[in-house]
């Protein structure tokens, strides 16, 4: 018998964790002499109070959906892919190459082409650590972290060299051609005089992110490959007994993971910047770890967690803009959410489990008396 009903596990625990993080954040804000209630109102207003705010929230959420899914699929194979950052950077390189050097007739084709390139580049970047893990036993955490640095260095090199616009002082590629520009929410939700999402960066790749959630869900819970990945993740010894090749699972899971992280680039590189700049990923690869932890590695959970972190990002930016709360404090708040939802999971879980046990026992005794 499971101790708790499923809804308590997937909804109640994260909610309580977020609440605890919020309370602690409020204390911190109080301590620096600001009003936490005002701060919260400002965050909610800034992130969710207008279609403009939503446009930013969903833009950030799209990044986190891809990196969160990337970490999740690796988690299912009991791999800790910390290299989302680097894989997304290299994915950006794939997008840039696809957009700059292939003459696309229409943005739909450009989106497909760029997405494929992004996935291939991201997967290729994950393939080397995966191979080292599968064949040599080099720990995936160490190698993927190191590959983040290599990716950053590689992009630095390319953006001040081969890919830089001749004569420009800026380490960035040229603007992508018009035909590769993705429709933003402003273009998509334009009904006559009222314009929604004006100036916000959210674009069509948000829907690609949703599609990726559905596809990954089907892969994990409906296909043989997903079954094998989960088996391997739960028990390597059992997987061997069942004739599942560890090498294959490590490679495939990491390729999918790297591919998903890479695909983030269709949002930030192709959709928003429309060129490749330095440090385009801005830490989204690492946020993906928190998103996957909080979303329990389930695509739907990842989607919700990505929305929450999108809100925190956008709301936090608003806070820094309108109050004297320093930008660094936003990072503190985000860190508290990660701490409570990820690392301190058991702190909430244990008392809740005891509570449910006591409730059940009380109910049983009531029945027997």
């Amino acid at each position: 018998m499971d101790v708790m009903p499923k809804w308590a596990d997937v909804i109640l625990i994260p909610l309580i964790s977020i609440l605890l993080a919020a309370i602690l954040s409020a204390v911190v804000i109080l301590a620096i002499g600001e009003n936490p209630w005002d701060a919260l109102k400002l965050m909610v207003n800034g992130a969710l109070g207008s279609t403009y705010g939503w446009g930013y929230t969903l833009y950030y959420a799209t990044n986190f959906i891809f990196t969160g899914l990337a970490v999740s699929i690796a988690f299912h194979a009991r791999m800790f892919n910390i290299g989302g950052e680097g894989q997304a950077l290299i994915g950006g390189l794939g997008v840039a190459l696809a957009c700059l050097f292939i003459p696309w007739p229409h943005w739909t084709l450009a989106l497909v082409g760029a997405a494929v390139m992004a996935a291939l580049f991201g997967a290729a970047w994950a393939a080397i650590p995966a191979f080292l893990q599968a064949k040599r036993g080099s720990h995936i955490v160490i190698t993927t972290i190191m590959f983040n640095f290599i990716a950053a260095a590689l992009l630095n090199y390319l953006l001040i060299g081969a890919l830089k616009v001749p004569g420009s002082m800026e380490p960035a590629t040229a603007k992508f051609p018009e035909a590769t520009h993705l429709p933003s929410f402003q273009d998509m939700f334009n009904f006559g005089e009222t314009t929604f999402f004006r100036g916000a960066p959210a674009n069509v790749s948000f829907f690609v992110g949703i599609a990726a959630c559905v596809a990954l869900w089907a892969l994990i819970w409906r296909t043989r490959l997903g079954y094998e990945i989960r088996s391997f993740g739960h028990s390597e010894s059992a997987a061997k007994y069942a004739g599942i090749s560890p090498t294959k699972i490590i490679m495939v899971a990491m390729l999918i993971s790297g591919g998903l992280a890479g695909m983030m680039a269709i949002n930030n590189v192709q959709g928003e910047a429309e060129r490749l700049v330095l440090n385009a990923v801005e830490g989204a690869g690492f946020i993906g770890i928190a998103v996957a932890l909080m979303g329990r590695s389930h695509p739907f959970g990842v989607f919700l967690a990505a929305l929450l972190f999108g809100f925190l990002y956008q709301g936090g930016a608003e806070l820094a803009l309108w109050t004297s709360i320093p930008r660094e404090l936003i990072i503190v708040i985000q860190a508290l959410v990660i701490l409570f939802t990820g690392a301190l999971d058991n702190m909430v879980r244990m008392p809740l489990e005891r509570l449910f046990l006591a409730l059940r026992r009380a109910k049983n005794e009531g029945r027997t008396v």
């Binding site: 089907a218 296909t223 088996s231 739960h234 010894s237 007994y241 004739g243």
Partner: protein, 534 residues
């Protein structure tokens, strides 16, 4: 004896873990200078009761009296102070310390080690002489056999002045000769006035050595009787709550053609240890070949090779067809395709994914089967669930709920899930490792019947078990493994536990002098590798 206070008296002990009532109002009196057996199926609450006595758990209700005095035992320090010593099923020894250091560990006289060690050395010598507890004080634990490790555990307790010794399933890892030696030690301890509580699920041990026996079932103490006044059949009935067949009923084997042919099989593991040393044998249709042996003598590797996840050299033919032994990657799939099914030795590590639902486990290893696919891309989960329901009904898995995670079933029901999966595939050859390890008596009977039924359908069965009784009652032919070799083959009707026990210790002829001495010498010689496996 009626005048003396009991060495241990428990009154009304209750303990619940969440919704599970592990101990219900248990009262028991253990008289000093006796051997008191506690017998019961897995999950009957024996270990919980002893853990309360040793201070690991706190009872919800109830009192403990030691020698007539009410005693509180909040932790194991208090238990040791009260004169209770515990020998766990899994030894708690530091592998790279010497025997002497292990005995002293935690009971040092002062900050300086040398005087403590010197005193311990003197004391070990006298204990050894008194109780036949002979050990080499300077040997490293990792170099000595299981039998000696167990003696070190007993010495640890005695060194801490224990008057009451609790042994939890002490013979699980011993050869018959080692078990006999242990029982002689226990007799000696009893003669010196020590009180011994022996927890076991083996009826024979209870009959052989105890004075009194208490039976536990589902958290309750169902009976306490004088061993002399009872018999195994009655005890089994008390344990299970219904009549059980202790012997397997089976018709003579109808031996058919050769199904499995193993020739000169060699395995060297990743550490370079030679695990299988040129093994050859055959298994025929309609026959159960039993492989006896102490755990860690190459049986596991043999199953792994045949099951397709360990590399080997040599030749294995199934139905006359040569099998590729060079790859250990996804060989499990090709073995299954050739009609080999495998019930692995460790269902929790290999046979099942404990977090998976029962239905997901039903497809485990067979997830490529056409009947479980909806299309080329997707699995047919509802077909698997239906199949699981049918299998659960036929194999009497309780509760018959395919949605329950494997870890929520009892050991016996977990094993039935594995057996149902492997037997219902209708294999030509069934590999079975430790089919009844950690399985309750009621389920043992059922599992044995299923294996015999498969044999009677003309299938070949390779049975690996460390339980000699199981080997003797199920097998149509017996091969004994020791140190990666087959020491000999016997027919079950022509042999007995004593002869098999000698073969299990690596001897082909009866030695001069006391048997156990020679057996121990052989076991010590067989290096620590074998013992570390268990």
């Amino acid at each position: 004896m009626t005048d003396t206070a009991p060495a241990i008296e428990l009154k009304g002990i209750s303990k619940a873990f969440g919704p599970v009532q592990a101990n219900k109002d248990i009262s028991i009196r253990v008289m000093p200078g006796t051997i008191h057996g506690i017998i019961g199926e897995n999950g009957a609450g024996k270990s919980t009761l002893m853990s309360i006595l040793y201070g690991f758990y706190k009872a919800d209700k109830g009192e403990i009296f030691i020698s007539g005095k009410k005693t509180l035992i909040p932790d194991s320090q208090a238990a040791i102070a009260a004169g209770i010593g515990m020998v766990f099923q899994h030894f708690k020894l530091v592998e790279n310390f010497t025997v002497l250091e292990n005995v002293v560990l935690g009971a040092e006289d002062s900050g300086l080690l040398r005087p403590s060690l010197a005193r311990a050395r003197r004391e070990l010598k006298s204990l050894a002489a008194e109780y036949e507890l002979n050990v080499d004080p300077d040997a490293l634990i990792q170099d000595v056999g299981v039998g000696m490790q167990q003696r070190v555990e007993i010495l640890k307790a005695l060194y801490r002045k224990a008057d009451i010794l609790i042994l939890d399933e002490p013979t699980g890892v011993l050869t018959p000769a080692e078990a006999d030696h242990l029982f002689r030690i226990l007799e000696n301890l009893k003669r010196e006035g020590k009180t011994i509580i022996l927890i076991t699920h083996k009826l024979r041990e209870i009959m052989d050595i105890t004075d009194t026996v208490s039976v536990m079932r589902r958290g309750e103490m169902t009976a306490t009787v004088k061993t002399a006044d009872t018999n195994p059949t009655e005890l089994a009935e008390l344990m299970v709550g219904r009549k059980v067949l202790l012997r397997v009923d089976k018709a003579p084997a109808q031996i058919g053609r050769k199904i499995l042919e193993v020739k000169d099989l060699n395995v060297t593991d990743s550490k370079g240890v030679h695990r299988l040393k040129g093994i050859s044998f055959d298994v025929h249709a309609g026959e159960i070949l039993g492989i006896a042996g102490v755990a860690g003598n190459g049986q596991s590797e043999l199953l792994e090779v045949l099951g397709g996840y360990e590399r080997a050299t040599g030749s294995v033919k199934v139905n006359g067809e040569e099998i590729d032994l060079s790859s250990a990657k996804s060989g499990g799939q090709s073995r299954r395709a050739k009609g080999i099914s495998h019930v692995p030795e460790d269902r929790q590590r290999e046979g099942l994914i404990m977090e998976f639902h029962a239905w997901e486990n039903t497809a485990f290893g067979y997830h490529h089967d056409a009947r479980y696919q909806k299309s080329s891309l997707f699995m047919d989960n509802s077909a698997i669930r239906t199949d699981t329901e049918e299998k659960m009904a036929r194999f009497d898995v309780r509760p018959p709920n395919p949605q329950l995670a494997a870890k929520n079933f009892s050991g016996g029901n977990q094993q039935k899930i594995v057996l149902a999966r492997e037997i219902e595939r209708n294999p030509d050859l069934l590999l079975v490792g430790q089919p009844t390890r950690g399985v309750d008596i009621g389920a043992i009977e059922f599992i044995h019947q299923q294996i015999v039924a498969l044999r009677d359908q003309g299938k070949a069965i390779l049975l690996v078990s460390v339980e000699l009784e199981e080997i003797l009652s199920l097998s149509d032919r017996i091969a004994v493994m020791f140190d990666g070799k087959i020491m000999g083959e016997r027919m079950p009707q022509d042999t007995d536990e004593k002869e098999l026990g000698l073969l299990m210790a690596g001897m082909t002829t009866t030695p001069e002098g006391p048997i156990h001495k020679a057996v121990e010498a052989q076991l010590a010689h067989a290096s620590g590798d074998a013992s570390k496996e268990v």
